[in-house]
């Protein structure tokens, strides 16, 4: 292969293997369109073939359920996922590797979307910035879908005098809303910002495994239609937790949920491996752990938790699937299955997943704060300690979702202990935030406003959390609206507002435009007000004793539900305003410089739009992050401890 002329990569002579055809080879012909064709085509083929093989009207010997629909739908889903990934070109790389055909530098550049213009967003592109934007769009789509269902739910609950939707459909929209929002919130920060920002933040040219990066996003794209399609086939009538054995009574839409989770878990696992490897091995020269920005810690922690937790969720769904399709009995108590097994497997993911959502958000806020307070992050070590503490405890608290299941009353004591211990590391994070706010003149821009909103919500969510972490109080609150309000304050109040802040903060870097301050703020505060209305009054409903996931209830709950519905509509309008601001600013907002916030951290030192490989020369880090601020004048006065001149100086 030395016959081929060597390529010049960053002023290095690199010998190249033989170049087969044009750079990129078959990938030149593959894009989202071929993906759709492949997916839909294979889905149709699989469906037709299966329906030929299954005798019509064949019913399961165990459950008498007509199985034809199940098999066909399962085949269609599998065909869609495989065909779509094949059409996108996900299998080209592995097959090339297996055949031992190395790709050249030109291939890699084509795969990274060099001089492809807009069309690279529709291809299996390996550039981490493209993947970040793709994640952003997918997040919007999934979030919008979940939000739409949320509006339907609140409409049903607001119309206390009638059933707007049939109970079955209502159950399916709460389930679909739940899982759609969980997916949206999991990827909301780790996806767009984790992929777009982290490599630049640590001074790398790309992710560790660019192809896996593309694989993770397109697997996610493949999973979304599975979820949406389930809504038209009876839906997920079991809440997002899809508890067995209720889930095995659901119509075939359940298969859509299970396939979504299985695919999504693979996508998340790959993304986690990729991010963690990048952070571990590709930090710039001189970026020791004490010089690594806190956001990198946050993403690392989230990836770690996703890495060990998601397989449990995935396997819980694989077992459910085989119960459904092959009549196994993991969760069928008649045949020796156990409902507690499902609950354990599910919550082994279920609780770390909460921190997968919250930790990156908190980390983004800690990135935003120093820039806008012109002040170093207060007690960086404590921030790290908080994140580490949360990760360490996250795997030991799952059973606090099962206090009332009676699976093992004795373990309620240790789980109550571990759960309430978590409030300590979380408290660290709060301390870091207020310590950074302390004595700072705030530059009130949209991202900083989001920080205030998040801290406010998180305090409420955290305080209500200690009621639920405590078994005696949980004996009243478990399964009531109080729980719903609590985790919305945590996941939405922190997750959604944090995502808004983070996107507003990194918008200039991602798009070259600045997010419109005025309308962005209007959107943010509208959402904030609506949020307090909705979930504040939901707390009241929970205290009065309204169970969750009901569509009819005693009229003593009417007033709080009406308020909730009004608030929910307000949230919807606010979100749309924010979205409108994003659309406008993205299309024709004013261009801005590479570093509009005058930030000192590495990702802002790159030019905008960011060139293909971020840094022409890899940077060398010589300082700790967040070196803002001036020496504290009070130190002088402390030394000459004389009270009088404090008054004059203190006014600042």
């Amino acid at each position: 292969m030395s016959s081929v002329a060597p390529a010049h990569v960053h002023s290095a002579e690199v010998p190249q293997p033989a170049q087969h055809g044009k750079p990129g080879g078959i990938m030149r012909r593959l894009n989202f369109g071929t993906g759709l064709i492949g997916g839909i085509g294979l889905a149709i083929i699989a469906g037709v073939v299966t329906s030929q093989f299954v005798p019509s009207g064949y019913a399961s010997p165990v459950t008498f359920a007509p199985m034809e629909g199940e098999y066909v739908y399962l085949a269609v889903l599998l065909g869609w996922v495989i065909g779509f990934m094949a059409g996108m070109g996900a299998f080209v790389g592995p097959i090339r590797w297996m055949l031992g055909r190395e790709s050249t530098h030109l291939d890699a550049e084509y795969m990274a979307g060099k001089d492809l213009g807009r069309s690279r967003y529709w291809k299996y592109t390996t550039d981490h910035k493209v993947v970040g934007i793709q994640y952003l769009i997918v997040t919007f789509i999934v979030f919008g879908f979940g939000g739409l269902l949320a509006m339907l739910i609140r409409t049903e609950l607001g119309a206390t005098w009638t059933e707007v939707f049939s109970p079955a459909f209502y159950n399916s929209i709460i389930g679909t809303h739940g899982i759609a929002m969980i997916i949206a919130m999991i990827i909301a920060v780790s996806g767009p910002l984790g992929n777009f920002i982290v490599p630049m933040m640590i001074g790398a040219r790309d992710m560790a495994y660019p192809r896996l990066n593309a694989l993770s996003i397109w697997l996610l794209v493949a999973a979304v239609p599975c979820l949406i399609s389930s809504l038209f086939l009876g839906g997920i009538q079991d809440g997002w937790s899809a508890y067995q054995p209720l889930a095995s009574q659901a119509p075939i839409g359940m298969l859509g949920y299970q396939m979504t989770i299985i695919v999504f878990a693979i996508s998340t696992g790959i993304a986690s491996v990729n991010l963690m490897t990048t952070i571990l091995t590709m930090r710039a020269k001189g970026m020791s752990w004490s010089r690594t920005p806190i956001f990198v810690y946050g993403i690392f922690a989230a990836s770690l938790m996703g890495l060990y937790a998601f397989p449990f969720y995935q396997y819980s769904q694989i077992l459910s699937l085989s119960d459904r399709v092959f009549n196994t009995s993991f969760f069928n108590p008649l045949e020796g299955g156990s409902v507690w097994l499902y609950e354990n497997l599910f919550w082994l993911l279920g609780h770390p997943e909460v921190y997968v959502i919250i930790i990156p958000t908190a980390a983004v806020l800690m990135e935003i704060l120093p820039v806008f307070m012109r002040k170093p992050l207060f007690s960086f070590n404590f921030a790290v300690a908080g994140i580490v503490g949360v990760v360490a405890l996250s795997g030991l608290v799952w059973a606090h979702h099962m206090y009332m299941t009676g699976w093992a009353p004795a373990v309620n004591y240790p789980f109550m202990l571990s759960t309430e211990m978590i409030s300590i590391p979380v408290g660290f994070l709060v301390l870091v935030v207020i310590g950074t706010l302390w004595r700072g003149t705030s530059w009130s821009r949209l991202p900083l406003m989001a920080v205030y909103a998040v801290v406010f919500n998180k305090m409420i969510g955290g305080v209500t959390g200690i009621y639920l972490s405590d078994v005696p109080a949980d004996q009243y609150f478990h399964g009531s609206m109080f729980v719903v309000a609590h985790f919305h304050y945590m996941l939405m109040g922190a997750g959604f507002f944090g995502a808004m802040g983070g996107i507003a903060f990194y918008f200039p870097k991602m798009t070259g435009k600045i997010l419109d301050e005025r309308y962005g703020s209007i959107g943010l505060w509208t959402v904030f007000v609506g949020f307090q209305l909705t979930f504040g009054s939901m707390f009241v409903a929970g205290l009065q004793g309204q169970p969750r996931r009901v569509l009819q209830f005693d009229e003593q709950f009417d007033i709080s539900n009406w308020i909730s519905t009004i608030g929910a509509y307000t949230i919807g309008v606010g979100t749309l305003i924010f979205l409108g601001a994003i659309i406008f600013s993205w299309r024709d907002g004013p261009m801005v410089s590479g570093n509009p916030w005058a930030s000192k951290s590495l990702e802002w030192q790159t030019p905008t739009p960011v060139p293909l490989e971020n840094f022409a020369v890899l940077p060398v880090v010589t300082e700790r992050p967040y070196n803002y601020g001036v020496p504290d004048p009070y130190d002088e006065e402390l030394r000459a401890h004389d009270g009088d001149e404090l008054e004059s100086a203190g006014a600042r």
């Binding site: 739409l148 339907l152 749309l576 406008f584």
Partner: protein, 235 residues
């Protein structure tokens, strides 16, 4: 200004999408047509409510739909995979007058078997704790020969009177003589008489496992219009 228009357009578009989808999905799944008990002019004495007007209502249970008996239309997609499942005919949205004596005459064409909970093999909430089964008055049927049950229970409104009515509908023998549509020629005839109180809304469903999936409680058992519905007492 342009900014404002873009924002406005986004908000309006969003509202339209949500409203449209909500309206469509709400309309596409309204309940089956109301089936009201008709006052037949007569009155009847009750043990502790004195003499009250009397109303009657006819319901049948079919094992599956046929040309003679069309399947219920409920929801946008249910009927696709519920064909061949049992259902109540002609409707599951039932209305009875308040403060009166109501007699429901059931005609049960379906087979049956063992019910999970013997409690529902007994008559509950009827006027004298009995029902009339093929002419003779009984308190219960054998718990291994139940076809379906008609169980009305509470709606979560504390303001309306508590109401609980459960009637077991005995099964037809598996080898019963059937007509060409596949229905038994002499189905089980059950009639139950009960006293209604003040107005209120309730729901009812079948407590005999006659659906599919786990514990045969999926499918029609969890679909309004087939084996479940609403039961309204109107003033």
């Amino acid at each position: 200004m342009k900014k404002f228009l873009v924002i406005l357009a986004t908000v309006l578009a969003g509202v339209l999408v949500v409203g449209g989808i909500g309206a469509v999905s709400s309309i596409s799944q309204e309940e089956p047509p109301v089936l009201a008990a008709t006052l037949d002019g007569t009155t009847m004495d009750t043990p502790n409510n004195g003499t009250l007007p009397h109303a009657t209502l006819d319901l049948s249970v079919y094992p599956n739909s046929s040309d003679a008996v069309p399947p219920p239309k409920a929801g946008p997609y249910e009927s696709a995979w519920l064909s061949g499942q049992p259902f109540y005919h002609p409707s599951t949205t039932i209305q009875v007058p308040a403060n009166s004596v109501v007699t429901i005459n059931f005609t049960q064409y379906d087979s049956g078997g063992q019910i999970y909970n013997p409690f529902f093999a007994h008559v509950h909430g009827s006027m004298d704790g009995t029902m009339t089964w093929n002419g003779k008055s009984v308190k219960n049927v054998k718990s291994d020969s139940v076809g379906h049950t008609f169980t009305v229970h509470q709606y979560p409104e504390s303001s309306q009177p508590y109401f609980f009515l459960s009637v077991p509908l005995p099964m037809n023998a598996a080898n019963a003589k059937t007509d060409k549509a596949g229905y038994p020629v002499d189905p089980q005839k059950i009639s139950v008489t009960f006293v209604t109180g003040e107005a209120g809304t309730y729901v009812w469903n079948c407590e005999f496992p006659c659906g599919d999936e786990y514990q045969e409680f999926g499918g029609p058992m969890q679909t309004r219009g087939w084996m479940a519905g609403t039961f309204e007492v109107v003033a």
